[in-house]
């Protein structure tokens, strides 16, 4: 063992109570750092997962019609491209085939989107209707796990509605409801199931039917309005969207673009977390620095003896820096371990709805970061005491 390490360790173990208290204090700050990091990352993951499980990760739509500048002799005339043509994807089977072959794509579903009114007795409510492939509805919107009544099988031509919509129209599974589409078509459709996603805009305003049932309602015998895509990794959506847009010429929108507020909210949480993490690091630095500064003062006479017998200032400073690094390293490992255990315990506590009471992600505690920062912080915290120790005048210290 290096003699420097031996001296540093001997100093740390000579007052085991003080060292234990110091390590406990620093470890506690590390636990706070880990907890906050796991909580904020867990919350971001939870919110993102909640949102991405219910929506398409990439949506392909016909490109927007744009005004085109036409010249007429010396005059400029802005004229829109024809809006008389229905916006639809006619060659959707080819696009579907292309998208399915793309790496990272999990499910592709053609969709017919449209607006309609649901009428029951005198009550009329507007709904956004999504005509989807019956075999892909769960892959796209995970409705089965959110069903509170009936089933998600749309193959028989039924309708899936959200719980708020069902309550307002007093709908029950098996009962019929009249749908009048934006194209003027009417149809009496039985309720297949009622879902509760927890997202009010979905539970109140969205209804699902099969794509086959949607075609006559929205007067689209061949084309589709949208192609919805689910990915293995939702974070890959911008990359996949760009690749599909380049390949098909369709307008491809990643889910992040439609959920800017979610990104802003998670960013704001992240910034709050950085503040708390910074305070934890400052607490670590102050604890170690003050304890070692006190130690350097208490050991002035010993340092004076060392300096008198020719031990270099560098060695004396090294003893204190190494003490800081040892305290930081031990505390970081201890705090990271305890922090992980705390997060695992908290994540296992379930709330009334059967979900974890805290959306904490034990694996996202930033362990490598906190260990590295704590050791670096501890080494920096030891610099001031080390300089003070190295500056001890042997004559003053011995005569004291």
């Amino acid at each position: 063992m290096l003699f420097l390490s031996k001296v540093a360790l001997r100093y740390l173990t000579s007052n085991i109570i003080q060292t234990t208290l110091l390590i406990s204090g620093v470890a506690l700050s590390v636990v706070v750092f880990v907890f906050i990091t796991a909580l904020i990352n867990g919350l971001a993951l939870y919110l993102t997962a909640e949102v991405t499980s219910k929506i398409a990760h990439v949506e392909l739509e016909p490109p927007n019609t744009v005004s085109r500048v036409l010249t007429d002799n010396d005059r400029f005339v802005a004229a829109p491209v024809s809006t008389f043509r229905r916006k639809q994807i006619r060659n959707w089977q080819q696009v579907l085939e292309l998208a399915e072959k793309m790496p990272g794509v999990k499910t592709v579903s053609p969709t017919i989107d449209g607006n309609a009114f649901l009428t029951r007795g005198e009550a009329v409510l507007p709904v956004a209707v999504q005509g989807v492939s019956p075999d892909k509805i769960d892959a796209m919107a995970d409705l089965s796990s959110n069903l509170i009544a009936g089933n998600a099988d749309l193959s028989a031509g039924g309708l899936l509605v959200g719980v708020e919509l069902a309550e307002e129209l007093n709908l029950a599974v098996g009962g019929p409801v009249l749908m009048r589409s934006e194209r003027g078509a009417e149809r009496l459709i039985p309720i297949t199931g009622i879902f509760k996603s927890g997202v009010s805009s979905l539970d109140r305003r969205v209804a699902y039917i099969s794509i086959g049932a949607a075609r006559p309602l929205f007067d689209l015998p061949n084309g589709v309005t949208t192609i919805s895509i689910k990915l293995d990794d939702p974070d890959e959506a911008p990359r996949v969207a760009k690749a599909l847009q380049d390949a098909t010429g369709l307008k491809a929108t990643p889910w992040q673009e439609k959920n800017k507020t979610l990104e802003e909210a998670t960013d704001a949480q992240g910034r709050t977390g950085v503040f708390i993490q910074s305070f934890a690091m400052i607490a670590i630095i102050i604890s170690i620095s003050s304890a070692l500064l006190l130690s350097s003062y208490r050991r002035r006479a010993e340092i004076g003896i060392m300096r008198a017998v020719g031990i270099s200032r560098r060695f004396v400073a090294g003893v204190f820096v190494l003490q800081g690094i040892l305290i930081g390293g031990i505390s970081a490992l201890l705090g990271a371990g305890l922090g992980y255990q705390l997060c695992v315990t908290l994540a296992s506590i379930q709330g009334a709805n059967g979900r974890p009471s805290l959306p904490i992600a034990p694996s996202e505690g930033g362990y490598a970061l906190v260990i590295t920062l704590t050791i670096i912080g501890a080494a920096l915290a030891a610099v001031l005491p080390a300089r003070a120790a190295a500056a001890v005048d042997p004559v003053d210290a011995i005569q004291q």
């Binding site: 290096l2 003699f3 031996k6 010993e302 003896i305 060392m306 017998v309 020719g310 270099s312 004559v395």
Partner: protein, 230 residues
């Protein structure tokens, strides 16, 4: 062959306290030959501790020149002076002599182990030999705090000898020991002086301690008043 270990010429030391200046040493000329045991005597406040600190390279003189083994020391940086202290000088102090968290053997080995980076086997063996020589081989694994005053001083003497110094400086080495233990310590120093041919400069105001030395230097009011061969 170099018979002069340390030479001091015109050493002046002035301490400043605000506007007030106190000249403690007023021009000391001194030669410490090899193998001699010299007593530095003087009343309290005469300047003998200050002179000892300057000769031990622990304090810079205000003016004057020091030469250690023919090497002028003026203007050398602290790191070099520390190295010289470590290699060529040994110290025995009256108080605060040992590092309390280390064993007797580790205290003895410290001045050799720290610069080397580790406690090598030859240093450990030499430390054990020195502890044996001062009669403390059975206390080698005792923490310094568990040793008596006389035992601590003997460990300090062993530590002063670990790097085979040319000069050992002792400031009142028996100042807080009883008569019997003082005599034991002085007999030990005398024996080491005779066997190792190391030069000893011992600051004391005790006539009995000075009687063990070959020479006496009397310092009064910052000047050497008298130098006698014993």
């Amino acid at each position: 062959m170099n018979d002069i270990v340390l030479k001091a010429e015109g050493i002046i030391k002035t301490f400043r306290n605000g506007d007030e200046e106190t000249r403690v040493l007023k021009g000391i000329d001194l030669v410490l030959p090899k193998g001699r045991m010299i007593a530095l005597q003087g009343a309290s406040g005469s300047g003998k501790s200050t002179l000892l600190n300057i000769l031990g390279l622990l304090m810079q003189p205000t003016s004057g020149e020091l030469t250690l083994l023919n090497q002028p020391l003026a203007g050398l940086p602290d790191a070099v002076l520390s190295r010289y202290r470590n290699r060529h000088l040994g110290f025995v102090f009256q108080y605060h002599n040992l590092l309390p968290d280390f064993t007797a053997l580790e205290n003895v080995a410290f001045p050799a182990a720290a610069p080397a980076g580790r406690l090598k086997r030859d240093v450990k063996e030499r430390s054990q030999m020195l502890l044996d020589r001062v009669g403390l081989s059975d206390r080698k694994n005792f923490l310094a705090t568990r040793l008596s005053g006389g035992q601590k001083q003997r460990v300090a003497i062993a530590r002063a000898l670990i790097n085979s110094p040319n000069l050992v400086l002792a400031d009142e080495p028996t100042g807080n020991l009883d008569r019997k233990t003082s005599d034991q310590v002085m007999m030990l120093l005398k024996e080491i002086n005779r066997d190792d041919q190391a030069t000893f400069l011992i600051s004391t105001h005790d006539e009995n301690i000075a009687a063990y030395c070959d020479e006496r230097i009397q310092i009064e009011d910052g000047l050497i008043a008298k130098a006698d061969s014993g």
